[in-house]
Symmetry: C2
């Protein structure tokens, strides 16, 4: 069985390979490379590669770095990185740090971070359309729809306009568009560039990606409460402080669905990647559960995380 | 013979049709629609449609609004519009006006103009991959390369870093990447989505698009000097004030090449679109020739525009 860290290492190898020919022979290439490397945990590319392995029955060593599947995995990371560069800009979230280093507009300047993001966005389409697979045009269509004005972008709009805080439904809609769409896309690209793509499986994977995205974001929100002082903004918007029971019930439901689909579809490598993530998050939540419950209780709600810990 | 204004009207019809389903049923759709409409002169979509007509031998009425050719023409305008939205932002050119109206970040705010631009960028790939034409994947590959880190984006980088002003070669490189690439792409998409795409024609059209792009930008620079007071920045960077003879020689050379390729490739509709543009610009330059020559002479150079007027 391939481990999650082996898949992640492959994703880095692929991304590094493609970065070499994507950027111009000019000082500005530093803006792209600084933002992409050292790479993050490569969750999205790993999911894409894992589904590709599961649905083609191939091992990690059989995936060439320039195949459609490999290029698509790089496209996902390049696209994700552009969203982070733009999200960090002063007019958006105004974050000076990213992965423990100065964010791109601090390291360089604003116009370089803006254009660098635009460059990566275009480059992601260069990557997803790489290769000669018969599903290429379809992959691009779905990619552009999922990330575009009706997809990821609208999720960012709902987030920034703070419409997400108006109701639990709005919160889920925002998480679906801003977080789940790119994860759904990761699974679908893995399937489209495998040897056994069909609509029934696509539908299951789409639902699976939705569940992963919602869980990912709800767990992330919960882990934010592990801080001694989460900050005023966090205390105002964290859904676990205003709707803890709804958050927990939804998260438990989605985790159960994830396990069910992984089993039904025989997604062994995909399960490995997800387990590594859930294990890490379970440990964070267990380690800081006192602090997390303290914040929830202080907000006037009471909660018991045992239903969640039973499935996580 | 179809007129340039009929082709432009068709491009508007196509763009309006696609805009209806590209954007979410949400207030934010106003950001997209405000930036796209009322549409500009639609030079790029018109060139795309004209090449498609020329190379398929079809009339304007035979082009369905949802064909690959039509969708690609809309993709070009949507992509061009995103570049304008981002170019106008405070950290870039900081322009408060666009087409005589407040630019998007003035009308809305900065994050809306930034995300609106990102949304249009993704939407342009949704459009260029629309339809079932066998050349779709190839069209996307070329689109992403021409507009990406080694293409249009690098042209914006050279422009903003003012490297373009260091030499005439740098100026041409900037114009090639920032302006010509999208025009070359307009012609190539018209060809790829026509019924007679071949590599030899693609090569001619690529060279033609380069010549149109360089001419377009040099004529634009020249027409900026028709103002009584062109402004300090313009006087500092306008290449006609520092290198008038090189600018004119290059422009004459490119216009001659344009006419030669139009003739050789039998591009009758494409010629109509270009003639309408050149006629308009010739009239501007003729009307303000005294003012233009005054600025050139005041910069210490002398020039005689008769070689240009002989070919324009």
């Amino acid at each position: 069985m391939t481990s999650a860290s082996e898949i992640s290492a492959k994703a880095i190898e692929i991304l590094s390979h493609h970065a070499k020919f994507l950027f111009p022979n000019h000082d500005f290439a530093e803006v792209y490379n600084y933002s992409l490397f050292p790479a993050g945990k490569l969750f999205r590319p790993s999911l894409c590669l894992a589904v590709g392995m599961d649905k083609s029955g191939v091992g990690l060593n059989e995936i060439g770095v320039r195949t459609s599947l490999a290029s698509a995995s790089a496209a996902l990371e390049v696209h994700h990185t552009y969203t982070l560069m733009h999200d960090d800009l002063p007019c958006m979230d105004n974050d000076d740090e990213r992965r423990g280093r100065p964010s791109s507009h601090i390291k360089f300047n604003e116009w370089k971070a803006l254009l660098g993001g635009d460059g990566l966005l275009n480059a992601s389409y260069r990557l997803v359309s790489h290769g000669e697979h018969p599903n290429t045009a379809l992959a691009v269509k779905i990619f552009a729809w999922a990330t575009g004005p009706k997809g990821l972008i609208q999720g960012q709009v709902l987030d920034l306009s703070e419409e997400m805080n108006l109701s639990f439904d709005n919160l889920l809609k925002t998480h679906e568009l801003k977080t789940a769409r790119l994860i759904q896309l990761s699974l679908i690209l893995g399937l489209l560039y495998s040897s056994s793509a069909d609509w029934k499986t696509a539908k299951s994977l789409w639902r699976l990606g939705h569940a992963i995205g919602i869980s990912f974001q709800l767990i992330d929100d919960l882990s934010e409460l592990s801080e001694v002082n989460p900050g005023e903004h966090e205390l105002a918007v964290n859904p676990w402080l205003t709707m803890p029971d709804q958050c927990q019930a939804k998260l438990v439901q989605e985790i159960n669905l994830i396990n069910k689909v992984l089993e039904e579809e025989g997604l062994r490598n995909t399960k490995t990647v997800l387990d590594a993530y859930f294990d890490k998050m379970r440990n964070v939540i267990l380690e800081y559960s006192e602090m997390i419950l303290k914040h929830i209780n202080e907000s006037g709600k009471s909660s018991d995380l045992s239903p969640l810990m039973a499935v996580l």
